[in-house]
Amino acid sequence: MTDQTLAPVQTGTIENAIEFLKARYPDSVKDDTRSGYSGVVVSKSQLVDVARTLRDELGFDYLSSATAVDYLGVSDHMEMVYHAYRTSGGPPLVFKAQTERSNAEVPSLIDVWPGVDFQEREAWDLFGIRFAGHPNLKRILMWDGFEGHPMRKDWREAYYEEDQKPFESRWPRGYIRRAEELNVYGRNVRYPDDLDLGALKDDSAEESLYSGMGLGVDVSAYETEGIKTDKLVVNLGPHHPSTHGVFRMVVTLDGETVLSLEPVMGYLHRNHEKIGERNAWLHNMPFTDRLDYISSMSNNLGYALAVEDLLASGARYAPPSYRAEAIRVLMVELTRIVNHFWAIGFLLNDLGAFFTPALYAIAEREKILDFFEATAGSRMMCNYMRFQGVAKDLPERIRSTANLLNDRVRDFNTMDYLTEMITERLPRAIDDLDRYLTDSEIVKSRTIGVGYLPPEMAIAYSTAGPLLRASGIPYDVRRAEPYSIYPDLDFDVAVRYNGDIYDRYLIRLDEMRESVRILKQVLPRLEKSQGESIFSGNKAIYMPRVPVGEAYGRVENPKGELGYYVVSEGDPKGPQNPWRYHVRAPSFINLTALGAMCKGHKVADVVAILGSIDIVLGETDR
């Protein structure tokens, strides 16, 4: 896909790579010398060249994350932060491009890594940074009639109360007032000056219905192979069960065949990241549950790792104990199984087998959720991980007492329950699923060869997780940049090579089996570490002091690489809140490849292809 006269790819350390860059671009690549920061700052003029060198000559072929930070009041500039990785593993090369706040503009990297498409649109939408050369730079999460760029530090939300939590009005003179009484809806919303609200009214003429898509496609007859057909624009969603939430695909069709597809999202947008900046560090933990709400445990872990990375440079930091790490791995691997059961079940739904296979698939999930509930207190919104440990130790017994509200009694030994689940129930359920589906004639004919994603495209589009690995790239953060106790554990990175829906289904089965394998190794570690502390900090500290700096914590979430980019500007006097809290959401970035995967397939396949990516809108829209 690139030209043939490439220099051999270097495989040295990050330091070597930075040296190489500085030698090649002495004027435009500088070390990031701020305390707590790493990587290089690249001048705007040579950003694209540097990126190309990184990809082609230094082997950083995978751009994991591209996001913006607004340093208003600190150094009064905007900054794009890129994290590039090698798919052969290892740490990231972080490079940044700075721009002034007014008229913020940075060259687009879309020609180097097409995977930045949505991320640059997001940065434009939320920060107002223009990307020169981006072919489709328009809002992605907010709607067109939105005024301002909400992630800028000087932008205030409709129900603004204070810059940072905890709010003054709560204690000691708590004066309760609902937010909507103070800021009556309708009176607190601004529109752009040039927006004609009257023009937004739907006059239900057919043309306006289609012209509203902004695709510039008109319903006019055109000819293919001698047959006169209509090019037709169809909206799949936003309200449609196949979209797994509120998600829209604008599909241009020639008969039944997809000519182009554009994902439209943001219906569930709540500006998670702005909320995250208002919040104190610990406040964010339960909010991460609500991203990918199927796998809240691993969302928690990613955030905990990112903040621990920052905390580790401080004085009073002790890493989590072995038991805490073992419990974390137990939880996230169970979560992976939950998620993949869910994904496979609902893929079958998307293929048209309505809910029977889905219910078979998620029956076993109930047992896992029961365990989460008994341990963390909630089935889905677990809020279980803490910086330097976990919230509570595993309960000795999974127990429900009879009381006024609850008429069932239940009492099991937790370890017995877990052992039975991991050694008997889960393998059996996975085998069942395998037996029902893998050889099914219908599943095979609907999925084999459909939604093909070639490996080089999977990397270029920054896809992650099962989507990437089903295209033959054995890239798994647990092995590529290991965290927690994964280096001690024996497991294989599942990989499949055909890159179609069928392989994405198979790889989820493989990953569940690998997870069971990991869990079997975690059980004896739990037995052995019984009685060890699960939290290595001071439990009473609810507003930890987080040292100044940046950190990028990432985990292999069931849906792909989940990254948290956090920046602490650490005001030692006031309450401590993240300066920047960015979520690299796998569901969001994996969608970049959707259009390319659907091209040329039938409408019915679009639904199945979307199902095989396995998105959750809570995370996509944030």
Partner: protein, 287 residues
């Protein structure tokens, strides 16, 4: 042979169909008659099949650590020394650690000296905002705010019922013990006493000693311990045994303004009566 796949598929379906009744068949009708505690295996390790829980007649068991919107722990109404007293000292940690900031506290003030006193004057939780994260309970240094198990909060009017005031939030210690005996024991063990940590300190200062922690899961037993240790034990030998402490959540403690609210009081009384009936029925069914 054609059609084998279909037959096999139907076989799978029918097996799952019957499996979903396996639990009912195992209990052969006791689901509808007899004691509910017979269903201990319903959510068990070896349960098979996707079974149906017939809510609201049947409810699924929630574990001890289950968390729903918070409540405030107060002493039981028949506490020998300070009936109905708040455990909350209005230190404000819960309102600071609350991620969605749904807790409003008015710190108590001495009417004469205007100095803060360790009693909340008012306490509000907006349950529409609460995200059930459990931080308030986790970080409360006095074990005074706890996550509830009562998830049936639906109402017809959110503006009236969804902001819980102190009267509605307050629930007796015996209730807390009944929903989470293990946790209550762990916390009492850490305090070293079944009493509030401030009471422990005060008594120590005065040269006495608070009720030492002895493991028990019965609220009645705790009450008996408290009574035995009280400075002037009330001559009621039967009280500890007979009453299982269905205490009024507001008894004696509600601020005047809130007590005056007749409607609220009526609602509380009704709720209390319902709880008492339920408790009586349970005792009758031989627990």
């Amino acid at each position: 042979m054609y059609g084998m796949g279909i037959l096999k598929g139907l076989g799978v379906t029918i097996r799952h169909f019957f499996e979903s009744y396996a639990e009912d068949i195992r209990y052969s009708g006791r689901r509808y008659f007899g004691a509910k505690s017979d269903f201990s295996e319903r959510q068990g390790i070896d349960t098979r099949g996707v079974y149906t829980v017939q809510y609201p007649e049947e409810k699924i068991a929630v574990p001890e650590r289950f968390r729903f919107v918070p409540f405030l722990v107060v002493n039981d109404a028949d506490h020998p020394e300070a009936p109905g007293e708040d455990w909350c000292t209005s230190c404000g940690i819960c309102s600071k650690v609350c991620p969605p900031q749904c807790i409003w506290i008015v710190r108590g003030e001495d009417p004469v000296t205007k100095r803060p006193i360790p009693q909340p004057e008012a306490f509000y939780i907006d349950t529409d905002i609460c995200m059930n994260c459990g931080y308030c309970a986790e970080f409360c240094p006095f074990d005074a705010i706890k996550m509830d198990h009562d998830y049936e909060l639906a109402s017809y009017d959110r503006t009236t019922y969804h902001i819980h005031d102190k009267a509605r939030l307050s629930k007796p210690f015996s209730y807390w013990m009944s929903i989470a005996p293990t946790t209550a024991n762990e916390e009492a063990r850490d305090r070293g006493s079944w009493e509030h940590s401030d009471v422990v300190k005060e008594k120590k200062k005065a040269g006495g000693a608070a009720v030492a922690y002895t493991p028990t899961e019965s609220p009645a037993e705790v009450l008996a311990l408290l009574k035995a240790n009280a400075p002037k034990p009330e001559p009621e030998p039967e009280a500890a045994a007979a009453s299982t402490a269905v205490a009024s959540p507001v008894a004696g403690e509600a601020p005047a303004a809130e007590a005056a609210d007749g409607e609220k009081a009526a609602r509380l009384a009704k709720r209390e009566a319902a709880l008492a009936r339920k408790r009586a029925a349970k005792e009758q069914s031989g627990e």
